[in-house]
């Protein structure tokens, strides 16, 4: 496939994912306004961070007037999965020059990662990075438009629509394929239990503690399995 047809295929393949992106972006935009951010601040956070969950956590902690270090630390922990994606994708992108890699890294999301991993492993796709670019740019534009809409309508979205539940559902869609082995399952179950038990901790620390406990459980179960 030529670069041009790869780019267009990327745009086409990411299109169905936008059904989930739009409500999530709306929620992120509303969250910025509710947290007291100005329209400019809300847009800047979205344009540069380009990560729904990092934006939501940042807004929640800014609203609670948390210290800068705590807010940035929480955003770091929820974004750690991007580090893992980066490690998994890097061998497939190693042949590209630094400018391409810097650009594709900026556009990498949960959705484009999953799609690109699938395509990069096919042998007859030498221009697959154009597919990544097409999908990434499309998702970026759709995300920014939905966040801007969320900022514009602000608190006018009726609570009865329960739009925030779309965020939880988005992560269910990512969680299920991420659980493949018994060790993955242990990581998920322990993280769930700790996230609930530690829910009373301030600054959304429960998420951090739960993530660390889950990773520990995964490592433990895997090690036990290997020694049997």
């Amino acid at each position: 496939m030529s670069p041009r047809s790869e780019f267009l295929a990327g745009v086409r393949d990411i299109a169905p994912v936008l059904l989930g992106t739009v409500p999530f972006g709306l929620v992120a935009g509303v969250a910025a306004v509710s947290a007291g951010l100005s329209a400019l601040e809300g847009l800047a956070l979205s344009l540069f961070a380009f990560s729904g969950i990092a934006q939501l956590i940042t807004c929640q902690l800014l609203a609670a007037d948390s210290p800068v270090i705590v807010t940035v630390g929480a955003a770091f922990v929820v974004s750690l999965r991007l580090l893992m994606y980066s490690a998994a994708l890097s061998p497939h992108l190693a042949h590209l020059n630094r400018r391409w890699r810097a650009l594709l890294a900026f556009l990498m999301t949960d959705q484009s990662f999953a799609m690109t991993m699938h395509i990069a492993t096919q042998s007859d796709r030498p221009h697959f990075h154009w597919h990544f670019l097409g999908a990434g740019v499309t998702l970026y534009c759709a995300w920014q438009a939905s966040v801007a809409l969320g900022i514009a309508v602000g608190a006018q979205v009726p609570p009865a629509w329960s739009l925030d539940f779309a965020v939880t559902l988005t992560f269910i869609g990512l969680l299920v394929p991420a659980v493949r082995t018994r060790a993955d399952l242990a990581a998920g179950i322990v993280a769930t239990a700790v996230a609930l038990l530690a829910a009373g901790l301030p600054y959304r620390l429960a998420l951090v503690v739960a993530a660390i406990a889950g990773i520990g459980a995964g490592l433990f179960v895997e090690k036990k399995g290997a020694h049997r």
Partner: protein, 105 residues
């Protein structure tokens, strides 16, 4: 001013995590234990994000059948396990939640 500082730092953190291996580092050079731990980041972090969204209502754990978000979430989990499409949970979960909220008044 503090808001702009946070925006700058969060943006830098998300970009550096994305760029870490793709732009700067060679994953083969990282310690084996670190790479093993990284593998469990997605199931652990994603579960820790999902669980409160289903089970916490106003800071209290609510595992009862009156919890519409829990029921709709369990349906979404089943749907996600059956059809491994990332959109299936949203396409099914939102209408189920609306239906349950309507039925429970």
């Amino acid at each position: 001013m503090k808001t702009w500082l946070v925006i700058a730092c969060v943006s830098a953190v998300t970009y550096l995590l994305r760029a870490s291996f793709i732009v700067f580092a060679d994953p083969q050079k990282f310690p084996h234990a670190f790479r093993q731990a990284l593998r469990f980041v997605p199931p652990a972090v994603l579960a820790a994000i999902v669980a409160p969204g289903l089970l916490l209502a106003g800071g209290v754990i609510d595992p009862s059948p009156r919890n519409a978000r829990l029921l709709a979430g369990l349906v979404a989990l089943a749907v996600a396990a059956r059809w491994r499409h990332p959109l299936a949970p949203i396409a099914v979960g939102m209408p189920v939640l609306w239906l349950l909220q309507w039925a429970m008044g």
